[in-house]
């Protein structure tokens, strides 16, 4: 069992009278690529909200490398090493693409180095994500699919050890989605970070990840290797049966 990077213990979160997440226990290790699938409303984005500090849990705990982060604000999560993207890309629309990426790099505690380094690092990230040609464009003018790439760059700029990607392949053709999948895999490789990836494109995801977790009605339905999960009876009945392979 590899050492644990992030751990959710018996986590429950309630809104009004509804449990969006119910007794979720989940672990991810360093440099692991984990996929999360499940029908709409299963609680996947809520899970990310808890894991990035946006939503405090109603019960249970979350820790990162043994440090308890339950109830801490979002910026603490980020400074400890968690970065995320959003289902609908949230970029700073009226700043340029470059300024968006630079935001995560700019602050003193993160840089530790010089302004010139920040410039170089920004450019490197932009190149890596294929955005260098649009560096000066307004972030809001980019099409949604490119905004999602920008979000990945912004998240990476904060130098995370855990990257949470929320449906970054949505709206892409199969081959484009495969491209994103391989981008994710190589990012994981290059930076030696863990990535947790929510995706509806189950086919692409299952082929790319080390491990898959299935959420249904806010509960963990299955958690294991992709081919095991694909054959899990409960999962097929609940979810995979609907998305024909």
């Amino acid at each position: 069992m590899p050492e644990t990077l992030v751990e959710l213990r018996d986590l429950t979160i309630r809104f009004g009278g509804i449990s969006a997440l119910s007794h979720v226990t989940f672990r991810a290790g360093p440099s692991e690529l984990v996929g999360i699938i499940g029908p709409n409303g299963a609680g996947k984005t809520t899970l990310f909200n808890v894991m990035s500090g946006i939503a405090p849990p109603s019960a249970g705990a979350i820790s990162f490398e043994g440090i308890d982060l339950t109830g801490r604000p979002a910026h603490v999560f980020n400074r400890i090493g968690v970065a995320r993207t959003f289902q609908t890309a949230r970029v700073f629309r009226n700043l340029s693409v470059r300024e968006n990426v630079q935001f995560g790099l700019r602050f003193p505690w993160r840089r530790g180095g010089r302004a010139a380094d920040a410039q170089a690092d920004t450019d490197r990230l932009l190149e890596r994500l294929g955005l260098i040609n649009q560096a000066r464009a307004l972030a809001g003018s980019l099409p949604p699919t490119r905004q999602r790439l920008l979000e990945i760059a912004m998240a990476l700029a904060t130098n995370p050890r855990l990257l949470l990607l929320d449906e970054v392949a949505a709206g892409l053709t199969q081959s484009e989605a495969e491209g994103v999948a391989s981008l994710i895999r190589s990012i994981r490789q290059e930076r030696n970070i863990s990535v947790i990836w929510i995706e509806h494109n189950v086919v692409t995801l299952m082929r790319a990840v080390d491990r898959v977790m299935v959420l249904h009605h806010g509960e963990v339905l299955a958690d294991g290797l992709p081919n095991e999960v694909a054959q899990d009876r409960a999962v097929i009945d609940a979810y995979l049966g609907e998305t024909a392979e």
Partner: protein
């Protein structure tokens, strides 16, 4: 900034500084007023223009500065008196910010507006209990020239602070808060601290200006110095000029200063109403201020637009 701009600005400041020796009292007073509006509007824009948090606390800061001056005047040298006003205002901003800056914009606006009323009542209560009377005599006030130079210096300082903040990481943080506060927080920004710091910074100049201007009255009382017209002027000047660029509040101050004189002379009774109409029309029809009419609508520097929450 380009060298030409530096030179022109410096020359302008020198000319303005020389004004007391050549100008009439009327011109001096008018320029003094314009400098005051500029200083107040620049401080306001630095925070509210960037973050989108409409702060209506300028009257409170101004009034606190004025009262600090009333207390310190005569016993302390002028620079200390003015600085005292700044400190008092900044402290109040800290307390207020800690209490209300975690709230969404509307609550923040209304609560900051009410603080002026709160302070007014509080001070009146304290004065009545302690001294039996309300109000203070301003003894040992400096000359008009000194007041003028002080306020001019404060306006220049406000511009410098605005400029430094705008091009710093801190300024980027404030603009990010204005664009998408939640997003900024997931990228590692301690949003609350940034807002409080920005708010306190925006209180310094109004507090100092309040201290400096208070001596133009021979007698002050809470009713006079905690006057909502001050914050109204500030918001008006910033809005018609354009709060997201340095030149905006300055332009707005000049336009407003001249307009105010004309209006007050010709429409003494109605001009306040006219100003209110002007503010509304400005928001509805010239949303980025007069500056936007002169420049092309590029993203430099930044209007904020996007969503603050998920």
């Amino acid at each position: 900034m380009r060298t030409a701009t530096w030179i022109i600005s410096a020359a302008l400041i020198v000319c303005l500084a020389a004004l007391p020796s050549v100008a009439s009292t009327f011109v001096l007073s008018l320029t003094l007023s314009i400098a005051m509006y500029a200083g107040l509007a620049l401080s306001w824009s630095m925070f509210s223009g960037a973050t989108g948090y409409v702060a209506l606390s300028t009257s409170a800061f101004f009034g606190l500065g004025a009262y600090t001056c009333a207390i310190l005047l005569g016993s302390w040298p002028w620079p200390i008196v003015v600085a005292g006003g700044a400190v008092a205002a900044a402290l109040s901003a800290l307390i207020l910010g800690l209490c209300v800056l975690h709230l969404r914009g509307t609550y923040f606006a209304i609560l900051t507006f009410g603080v002026s009323e709160l302070l007014k009542n509080l001070i009146m209560y304290v004065e009545k209990s302690e001294f039996g009377t309300v109000g203070r005599l301003m003894m040992g006030a400096p000359s008009l020239s000194v007041i003028y130079w002080t306020v001019l210096a404060l306006a220049v300082l406000a511009a410098v602070i605005y400029w430094l903040v705008a091009r710093s990481d801190f300024g980027a943080a404030l603009r990010a808060i204005g664009s998408d506060e939640g997003r900024a927080s997931t990228l590692g920004l301690n949003v609350r601290n940034a807002k409080i710091a920005g708010f306190c910074l925006s209180a310094i100049i109004p507090g100092a200006i309040g201290a400096a201007m208070s001596v133009r009255w021979t007698y002050i009382e809470p009713q006079i110095v905690f006057n909502p017209f001050i914050v109204f002027q500030t918001v008006l000047v910033a809005t018609i000029g354009g709060p997201t660029r340095l030149i905006g509040p300055i332009l707005g101050a000049v336009v407003f200063g001249l307009l105010q004189e004309t209006l007050r002379l010709n429409f003494a009774n109605y001009y306040l109403i006219f100003l209110g109409v002007l503010l509304i029309l400005s928001v509805l029809y010239v949303p980025n201020g007069l500056v936007s009419l002169f420049s092309s609508n590029r993203a430099r520097p930044l209007k904020r637009a996007s969503s603050k929450h998920a």
